[in-house]
Subunit: 309 residues, 2 copies
């Protein structure tokens, strides 16, 4: 990237908002004659790739560190620990964000716009509109994708009316059906495409002890649980192999349905009646369906602990 | 102040912007149905009092510390060291400012609007206009006063075109002549009214050594230097008394003319030819007129040091 460019960049481990808001804000600044260009701290995830491809936009340049005095616009973060390497000695000229204040101090006055909404791209879309800056169809699509991602299709508790209104307007400008596109994008990011049953069974695996019972609990969060349940036999085999390999008696796999806010809990090993007791439901065909359950820490471990007493 | 109110408050040692932007932003929030009220960390200075009286506004409530969890809107600052006592355990819900980022971190997302303009009140006036919130004549007058103060009637290097445009619009709404009112307000704040010659001679006094010469240099910045020069004989007497009291040979008093960006340098004690050499000008009637000189640190001390070599 040429040295006199201002780099617009999101946080490390970028999500869809961090990459799309960088692209959107760079377009906004360029439209005002500013020599700005989007960067990204790491490769886009599957969900973001889906959005970029849908709207025909090339991913930003990979920027893993910046030289001293590099002019930066931070989007979707304002904490040094989350920022691109070298940020401390760079010059932050603007911050557009929707998080808490993260303790950054700067040498000089700058432009900071932080709002407690569900997504940075909500703020940026409204800056386009308030200041009568023309927004391309592809930028509208990217900003929309970020809102749908950050608010999990408006289901997140962080989602505000402003996010919903902004997304509706962006969907019109981007010529997509909001719900249909949102489901497709989230599904692209939260599927098991290309994963082996063993990889699925190992996702986010943690070990626990319930009374005298040693157990492991994994969790995979998906848009389409049926896709996972379709390979249940293979998953149970992988879970049993895990029990042997790790010397535990019980293996649980939470197949969490993001959209329906529920979990299909797969059960391998013994004692299965401990699971039945914990959730006051029989284990049928190695599975218990748990509506409303999303959190291992808050909704699986405590009843299992209680049942083992 | 009632416990459920949001307090809008500026920095410690409040200047005109800190008090007027608090009053202006409280009015802005109230117009939107928010239970907000302005506070101030200390009594207004003479300049601010002049503005409050001119527009018939009562000073905000004195708030020297706030209880834990008090909801705060910070205006004209964003550093803990400058904030009202108790800020750390309060809840900052908004920040409106024109300074550098000062390292505050918060527990939750909030609304932050910082712009690199000359005055917080410039930002607030534009929020009224952008969001079609009706502004009273008195609020227009207060916001105008803050801009004229912070930019020293547009002479400060921090002044932007936006400050000038905003002030012009506010002057119309407040029905005052911008320049005439600005001069009167600055003069009210930067006069020697009620000060003894000794107090004037002691203003911001610092000690120096130039070669073998021990000296003291004071500085008073005023709108109307003639008002100070009118009591020159008394000032010189006070300066000579200072020389004796402090055991130094030379006393200088910078009478700095804010508007004309110049300094009348009064000289008491000896050697007067050191002063003449430093500024390549004769000391006439115990005075040297120095156009363009405003800074003791940058424009008085270095030539005096050089002349003493």
């Amino acid at each position: 990237m040429s040295a006199d460019k201002i780099i617009v960049i999101g946080h490390k481990s970028p999500d869809t908002d961090s990459i799309c808001s960088a692209l959107g804000y760079a377009a906004y600044k360029q439209a005002q004659g500013v020599n700005a260009e989007a960067g990204m701290t790491a490769e886009p995830n599957k969900e973001t790739m889906f959005a970029l491809e849908k709207f025909g936009v090339v991913a930003p340049e990979l920027v893993t560190s910046v030289p001293a005095k590099q002019k930066l616009i931070l989007v979707d973060h304002n904490e040094e620990g989350q920022a691109v390497d070298g940020m401390r000695d760079a010059e932050i000229v603007e911050i557009i964000d929707h998080h808490r204040l993260g303790g950054i101090s700067t040498a000089s006055p700058l432009f900071v716009h932080i709002e407690p909404v569900g997504c940075t791209s909500t703020i940026i879309a409204n800056m386009f509109w308030k200041n009568d800056v023309k927004m391309s169809t592809s930028v509208a699509g990217l900003l929309l994708s970020a809102i749908l991602s950050d608010t999990v299709l408006f289901k997140s508790p962080t989602c505000t009316q402003q996010d919903k209104d902004t997304a509706a307007k962006l969907a019109e400008e981007a010529c997509v059906d909001l719900k249909e596109y949102g489901m497709a994008m989230l599904k692209a990011g939260a599927g098991i495409d290309g994963m082996t049953p063993e990889q699925v069974a190992d996702t986010d695996l943690k070990a626990f002890e319930f009374g005298t019972v040693k157990a492991i609990i994994s969790q995979i969060s998906v848009m389409d649980p049926q896709e996972v349940l379709d390979i249940k036999a293979d998953l149970l085999a992988a879970m049993k192999a895990n029990c042997q390999a790790k010397g535990v008696e019980l293996a649980l796999l939470m197949v969490t349905d993001i959209m329906n806010e529920s979990t299909h809990l797969l059960v391998a090993g013994e004692p299965q009646d401990l699971v039945a007791k914990a959730f006051a439901k029989p284990v049928e065909d190695s599975c218990v369906y748990l509506p409303g359950v999303m959190s291992r820490k808050k909704q699986i471990v405590p009843p299992m602990t209680e049942a083992a007493k």
